[in-house]
């Protein structure tokens, strides 16, 4: 069949007209690469946490925005990754091996809960994961082997090889950046291929996706496992970086923060997850500073956080229902068409 090649070219040209986001990503990457060398150690921690947040958020956006499922307890997979890394390395397993195993253990936990929860129709996953988080945190807090409610102190540093040991906050900053970029590339590859299109399709209509041949239940499970694996990676880095974890490190508030990141950035793009993570991370810093001002009660940061997230969600849902990225995307689109009309 003869294809109108001229038209094909025209269309691919008009597609490459949207180079702006790529350009933005390149700038962001350069800034992110340079940043660790100028940050002090406190700010480096913020940097690491932001990257780790973003890794989890990208996984959650695959689940919410692409597979159409919500997990309200996503922090549980971060916790499982962190505890796996901490306990294995406390028992003499090389840290690099513990680091590699962490996402697999998170995936295994996700598999165990995912099979029953995802075969049911409806959003059982949302509350199922939340329940899972509460249960696992409860169990951990009462198990001496897992450090109990006091947690696990003095987790060793991550050794990439026997000679190359990560020590400084700066090295963790670069590691977490590399991991985030890797997660983004891999996720993008997924989205733009057969299984990714299947996922995106089933987020709109399960019946339609099934009619096109997409095994809906299995694909939802895979997306869930992947999001858990990303959580596990972030958790493992967190454990090695901070050297101390306890059930308090993975509160329900953290799970809520992940949801807020997705809502703020927009669930229908993995860039939205990154932007959301960035915004929330800054907000967390501001709130912590305000909440720990002299003379305020201990519960203040948490109260501030819930209030701020509630307010933020209201504003986002009211004014940018598709998230910040889509909001700017639309405005940029309008600008470029306007400027095109001018010339």
């Amino acid at each position: 069949m003869a294809i109108d090649t001229q038209k094909v070219q025209e269309i691919s040209k008009s597609k490459s007209g949207s180079r702006l986001p790529l350009f933005g990503a390149a700038i962001a990457l350069i800034v992110a690469l340079l940043l660790p060398s100028v940050l002090n150690s406190a700010n480096s921690s913020v940097y690491v946490y932001t990257m780790l947040y973003a890794i989890v958020a990208v996984g959650l956006s695959l689940l919410i925005g692409y597979a159409g499922q919500v997990s309200l307890g996503q922090a549980v997979f971060v916790a499982v990754g962190a505890y796996t890394a901490a306990i294995l390395s406390a028992h003499g397993v090389p840290t690099i091996l513990a680091f590699i195993l962490a996402p697999f253990v998170s995936m295994m936990v996700a598999l165990i809960v995912g099979i029953p929860l995802l075969t049911l129709r409806g959003n059982y996953l949302a509350f199922g994961t939340l329940a899972l988080q509460l249960i696992i945190l409860g169990v951990v807090a009462n198990t001496t082997f897992l450090g109990g409610s006091l947690g696990i102190p003095s987790i060793p540093q991550l050794g990439l090889t026997s000679s190359l040991q990560l020590g400084s906050a700066k090295s963790y900053a670069w590691l977490s950046l590399v991991l985030l970029v890797g997660v983004l590339i891999v996720s993008r590859n997924l989205i733009n291929s057969r299984p990714g299109r299947g996922l995106r399709a089933l987020a709109t209509t399960e019946i339609g996706a099934a009619a096109a041949g997409v095994p809906v239940g299995r694909y939802r499970l895979y997306a869930f496992l992947l999001s858990a694996a990303y959580g596990g990676i972030a958790g493992a880095v967190y454990a090695f970086f901070t050297g101390f974890i306890s059930p308090n490190s993975f509160s329900v508030l953290l799970s809520i923060e992940f949801i807020v990141m997705i809502m703020v950035g927009g669930s229908r793009s993995i860039w939205g997850a990154v932007v959301g993570a960035f915004v929330i991370s800054i907000l967390v810093q501001v709130l912590n500073t305000l909440g720990t001002l002299h003379g305020l009660p201990n519960s203040m940061p948490a109260i501030f956080s819930y209030a701020a997230y509630g307010l933020l969600l209201v504003v986002i849902i009211r004014y940018m229902p598709d998230g910040i990225v889509a909001w700017f995307g639309k405005r940029l689109g309008r600008l470029t068409t306007a400027s095109k009309n001018l010339d």
Partner: protein, 263 residues
């Protein structure tokens, strides 16, 4: 014309299928047989049970009794998503395009069961993924070209007018390389010229050997394409035959064509 004229084996068989929704008898003891390469029209008034029949064939809904077999094999234990891989494609009446996906991507989803690469290969961009992605991209362009959607290939499908969305759905179904294509009101929302264009496309596909089952209220559209027609009324088959026979059947005129002519 192809060989199918002589070797017309049965591709789909519906055996005494019944379905009720509460007090509504949507289908009652419906049987029909479709031959390889045929275009079968299914007509009937609103609520006659046409879409219910399609949903049952496509395994989106189970019947209360009766059987459906495709190419000699019962579909009783085939999950809905496995049918596309067997060459049975359907465009539902109320089908929505996949959101936030371009026309081309929507169509490419239809090729899902003709490709193999899974999550891992996709994430790691293996060579087999590249080959398959190139193949599906080329195939989707052929279909886009065929359906005259080239100008809007990169638009988001959900932003198109309803009629265009229907065409995208048909393209999606074609991308799975079906043997049997079930179309539930494909021409609704299309303007006169678009209808003619669609009829031409379908004619060509049928001449290439595709079997089509067509539910459509536009009687002229159906009669111009179908070589045989089944008429449903209140869930029962009241007539079956060539377009000529159906046009002259008094029971059909009374139950359907009369009212359709008035409408």
């Amino acid at each position: 014309m192809s060989l199918t004229e002589q070797t017309r084996s049965e591709i789909l068989r519906v055996d005494s299928v019944s379905k009720t929704f509460g007090a509504v008898r949507a289908l009652h003891d419906v049987s029909l047989s479709v031959s390889e390469g045929e275009c079968r029209g299914i007509i009937g008034a609103n609520g006659a049970g046409k879409s219910t029949l399609f949903r049952i064939i496509a395994r989106h809904m189970s019947s209360d009794s009766g059987h459906v077999s495709y190419r000699g094999k019962s579909l009783a234990h085939s999950p809905a998503h496995s049918l596309a891989g067997m060459g049975l494609a359907i465009v539902f009446q109320e089908a929505l395009p996949f959101q936030d996906m371009t026309v081309q991507e929507n169509i490419m989803v239809g090729g899902h069961s003709t490709l193999r690469h899974g999550f891992l290969a996709a994430m790691l961009k293996t060579p087999s993924r590249r080959v398959e992605e190139n193949e599906i991209r080329t195939r989707s362009w052929e279909i886009i070209d065929r359906l005259g959607l080239s100008d809007i290939a990169n638009e988001h499908a959900q932003e198109l007018p309803f009629g265009m969305q229907r065409l995208v759905q048909i393209g999606r179904a074609l991308c799975g390389r079906p043997r049997l294509l079930l179309l539930d009101e494909p021409a609704s929302g299309l303007r006169f010229q678009e209808r003619n264009a669609l009829a031409e496309v379908l004619k060509k596909l049928i001449s290439e050997g595709l079997t089509v089952m067509l539910v459509e209220h536009d009687v002229r559209f159906v009669f111009s394409l179908a070589e045989s027609i089944t008429v449903l009324d209140l869930g029962e088959v009241i007539a079956e035959g060539t377009p000529q026979e159906i046009r002259e059947n008094p029971q059909v005129i009374e139950a359907y064509l009369g009212t359709a002519a008035n409408a």
